[in-house]
């Protein structure tokens, strides 16, 4: 008859140990998910020929980077990147130097990325990404008429 002394609705109090287990499992889940999370990044450009350039009369150094249909990259007509070269190291090095030189002489560097009509967008993004890595912000994007 000892059971009668302990009624069935006796409150055992809040159990912390099972809660820690649950929290731990949930935390592990989010930790694993955190590694795979895809964050969207953006590359900022301006349209070619915007009004800002007409205000200052100093001529910026103009550089044209071409993206061909096959994925080849040219810097002022000189080839700098093969179609399979995704990191574009040589373009990055040259742009970095140019950026530093422009900063020292206090001129503005104006980069135009000129893609052929049928060039793949991914290639254009590779170039823009490379320019972002080299800290160059004044970039415009244009598509050349092949006609």
């Amino acid at each position: 008859m000892k059971q009668l002394e302990q009624p069935a609705d006796a409150n055992p109090g809040f159990q912390i140990a099972p809660m820690i287990d649950v929290v731990f499992v949930i935390m592990l889940f989010f930790m694993v998910m955190a590694g795979a999370v895809k964050v969207e990044h953006e590359l900022k450009t301006t349209l070619p020929g915007n009004a800002e350039t007409s205000k200052e009369m100093e001529m910026p150094d103009e550089v044209t980077i071409g993206v061909s249909e096959s994925g080849e990259i040219t810097l002022n007509e000189d080839p700098v990147g093969a179609p399979a070269d995704r990191l574009l190291e040589s373009l990055y090095n040259q742009m970095k130097q140019m950026g530093q030189a422009a900063e020292q002489s206090k001129t503005k560097l104006l980069i135009t990325v000129q893609a052929e009509e049928t060039a793949r967008y991914e290639r254009v993004i590779n170039v823009l990404d490379c320019l972002a890595k080299a800290n160059i912000s004044n970039v415009t994007f244009a598509v050349a008429d092949t006609e």
Partner: protein
């Protein structure tokens, strides 16, 4: 101990769910690891450009609504109305990586027509 666990839990929850990507499933974005993180504070018109590999034609969507490629004036008018007099309004171009450059320039043309000169291209921080 439980306090620390809860704090960690909240931390990991926030970094995983801070950006629920509203990405069109048909678009596979290119990788742009060096881009800056997207700031959602500035108002932006979002143009999704998906690419049909078999026909080689791009499809445009402004937010979730499909756009007619040939209706240049209509789109420009709509973008201009959205822009209002906000000089910081941006055009966020989110295009498939196989898309051809001339279709991208078309979207930029609409933006130019509407007087938007801030363009941002969107990419993922790492490969899937």
């Amino acid at each position: 101990m439980i306090d620390v666990l809860l704090v960690l839990l909240i931390f990991f929850m926030s970094i995983t769910s801070s950006q629920v990507l509203k990405v069109d499933k048909n678009i596979s974005l290119p990788v742009a690891a060096n881009g800056v993180k997207r700031d959602d504070k500035a108002a932006a018109g979002l143009i999704n450009i998906s690419w049909d590999k078999t026909t080689g034609v791009a499809k445009y969507k402004l937010d979730d609504r499909e756009l007619d490629m040939n209706d240049k004036d209509g789109i420009a008018k709509e973008l201009a109305a959205r822009k209002g007099d906000n000089p910081k309004y941006r055009l966020l171009v989110r295009a498939d990586k196989d898309c051809h450059a001339k279709y991208i320039s078309k979207a930029l043309e609409w933006g130019a027509e509407a007087g938007i000169e801030n363009i941002a291209f969107s990419g993922l921080n790492h490969e899937e």
